[in-house]
Symmetry: C2
Subunit: 451 residues, 2 copies
């Protein structure tokens, strides 16, 4: 019996017995194994409604917040609008907005109508920013104080709202028009004399982000400045919400996934892989595949150009995949390391004089080893010694050439203002393939002529 | 005049004038541009000592903490042992230990001798754990309380040590033998009646990590549980230190870099790229390069096996790079997306029935497009129509084959307990190259025979 079926049976059983503790336990296990969505989607609408009822909206909302927003939306769609509204009300506003934005617009409107007017309005405001922006990520559940509030009053206020806000470790100080003036941390409040005002002790030099800024910018800022939360403002500096540190892992993980997918030579997916349809996958990939194909087409032209050499020594053809493969691999090694170092260590074209000699010397060493290996391989295959020599010399040159191209290209692209991450492994391999062949056949001409 | 030289002059000037504000301003600008190390290393030992003196040990230590530990060590080496000891004393213990561990052991010992005994002992304890472990990352600057301390006493205690500890948002509750009993957050302290004890209000269900655990495990745990700090314990559950959320970004960034370097087909670098020597780079890469070379060698055998077909229709050779290149690209696209999804979305072999049909259909679509493109390309090059047909059909089969291999391999590796991240783009390309040729020449045999 598969683990999936087993869990399903336990769940049905616990649902029938209305065993809340058992249900919570099961769902946490599923959430940890990232199988929560797979199991929830199999439940009948009636079972799902009962689950929400037994767990309570608060707890059920917590589980939905564990899922990808699009997955949570799929589950929510199968409840009635009134039930869905209750669950969303119990969720943190930023999580609720994420889920709501993934629903069919008509359905989302229907649910908003069923919600309490205050909470519906809050969500509508959040939904007015695209999900990839700081505004789409923020939560309005923060603490704002006027500057003349005293420290002891501020602490009392924080206590009172502690259950409803996302963090009580920062309180933001605003003027009557809600413009951001400063921030006080719980640390400062606890350390300050109770009779002082927050306006006196607040930090005025605030790190903040515009609601229209990219969510990645907000995440980077939060991490770099070591903050627990970052205020989000509109163009008139009015405080709209905050982004907290627990959102950051999510945002950065998505960013890394995009980089990795790009390195593999596709358009990054915009939805989780498990939800991608075959046609979606195909559309994300076929463009790059065709582009690389067109770029690679010139290898055919190169080979036809050297048709005579090939006919005279067909053995030359035996080594074509080995040579261009090795060139591509050598280039790929450099490019992935360098592009990443450019992002993390801030390397640019101005570091050229430090980077290039380093890669060139490493390339010389690698070229020498690979050249020797190539010569040996050709000898073992028992071809003409002149061809073995050709393979060895060509491999040396191709590796050096691949390393040179792979070092220069990302640096030049960055200089031109293009993200060097577009230089994927397949891209550099394609670039080196044809030029590598030109090197190979020219070396062949030279050496075979000498014999 | 280059920006580097300009900064150098401004710095020299500010040093001569002993202008502390100007110096701080300059160094922050350099730190933001990640050029701090490059400039500091160019200073004379005398200038460096003066810089530390004018800024004060505290501020100078803050700048050193901005650098990579190995870079900071390089700077520190150029101060006298006594000066270095003063700077390290002013730094956070975990940062100081990171730097100290990168120094020459004799030099490190010399500096420890010059330090205050209490602080030297603390550092020696931290240094007893390898830098990649939770123990090597932790700081001993945390707040520990006995369970019978009252809430108001606890808040008073936190106030008193606020300047010296890494976080005042958590206090850890320990018994007389320093064994971890629970944790109270500042939030809970502020919200609880002052006369209760921390033992009564503490959370007993503590997320913690062993000092010997990998630092990545600690970072993941911190992020997943949404904590601001994570306690580090020894095998007898005694509290040794904490890891705070500001260390996490650093740790996770390093981990992602390793994954990306692996995807490019090299051993991950263990030092920053800017500090890697050519020989180091070469050693990290040449192993994989040779391994891939050996794996690729069979393409030569395959081609020699089909020597007769090649001699009869030399035009077949024109398309070899195009065919194997496209196969490699198609495989690389699948493998990077899938391996990442396996890490992030927890996909495993049990999801085979969902994953495989999806990739197979996407592969069918891609194969059809690429087959048509291949046929067209061959027609444009003006080869025999039978060869054009061969190229088209072979491309369709090769793309489908590459997609199948790239889908199955990571799933099988994970099943066998091997990290699927070893399947790099170069690896999958190598695997597909030779098998793709076998497909190509068999299709050729079939079709050319029919004509």
């Amino acid at each position: 019996m598969s683990a999936e079926v087993e869990f399903r049976m336990l769940l049905t059983d616990a649902l029938q017995k209305r065993d809340r503790e058992m249900l919570e336990d099961l769902l946490w296990q599923l959430a940890e194994q990232r199988r929560l969505h797979a199991v929830l989607r199999e439940l009948e609408p009636g079972e799902l409604a009962r689950l929400a009822e037994v767990l309570g909206d608060e707890t059920f909302g917590e589980f939905l917040a564990e899922l990808e927003p699009s997955d949570a939306a799929e589950i929510l769609e199968r409840l009635s609008s009134a039930e869905a509204a209750d669950v969303l009300e119990a969720m943190a506003p930023d999580d609720a907005a994420d889920v709501l934005s993934r629903l069919d617009p008509a359905e989302a409107r229907q649910i908003l109508v069923e919600m309490e007017p205050v909470e519906a309005k809050e969500l509508e405001e959040l939904l007015s920013y695209p999900p990839e922006t700081a505004g789409g990520r923020m939560t309005p559940a923060f603490v704002a104080l006027l500057p003349d509030v005293r420290v002891d009053q501020a602490i009392a206020a924080l206590r009172k709202v502690a259950e409803e806000v996302e963090t009580i470790y920062y309180a933001y100080v605003v003027d009557e028009e809600n413009r951001l003036l400063g921030v006080v941390s719980m640390r400062e409040l606890v350390l300050s004399p109770p009779y002082r005002t927050v306006g006196e002790i607040m930090e005025r030099d605030i790190v903040k982000v515009r609601a229209t800024a990219d969510q990645e910018e907000a995440a980077r800022l939060l991490v770099e400045e070591g903050l627990l939360a970052l205020p989000v403002v509109d163009e008139e500096d009015r405080l709209l919400g905050i982004i907290t540190v627990d959102d950051v892992a999510d945002i950065l993980e998505r960013e890394v996934t995009e980089d990795i997918e790009r390195l593999g030579g596709s358009q990054p997916l915009e939805i989780p892989y498990t939800r991608a349809t075959p046609v979606y996958l195909w559309r994300r990939r076929v463009g790059w595949l065709l582009l690389l194909f067109v770029a690679e087409m010139y290898t055919g032209t190169v080979l036809r150009h050297f048709e005579q050499e090939l006919e005279e020594a067909i053995a030359l053809a035996f080594f074509v995949p080995l040579l261009i493969g090795t060139g591509g691999n050598a280039g790929s090694q450099v490019v992935t390391t360098l592009v990443r170092a450019m992002a993390v260590e801030g390397i640019g074209l101005r570091d050229f004089v430090r980077i290039f000699p380093k890669e060139f010397i490493a390339g010389l060493l690698a070229g020498a080893v690979m050249g020797a290996a190539g010569f040996l391989r050709a000898e073992i295959l028992g071809v003409d010694p002149a061809i073995s020599l050709t393979v060895g010399v060509a491999l040396f040159c191709i590796v050096l050439w691949a390393v040179t191209v792979a070092t220069l290209l990302p640096l030049l692209l960055k200089r031109l203002g293009i993200d060097p991450a577009v230089v994927s492994s397949p891209f550099i391999a394609t670039l080196v393939d044809g030029t590598g062949l030109v090197i190979y056949f020219n070396v062949a001409r030279l050496i075979l002529h000498l014999y």
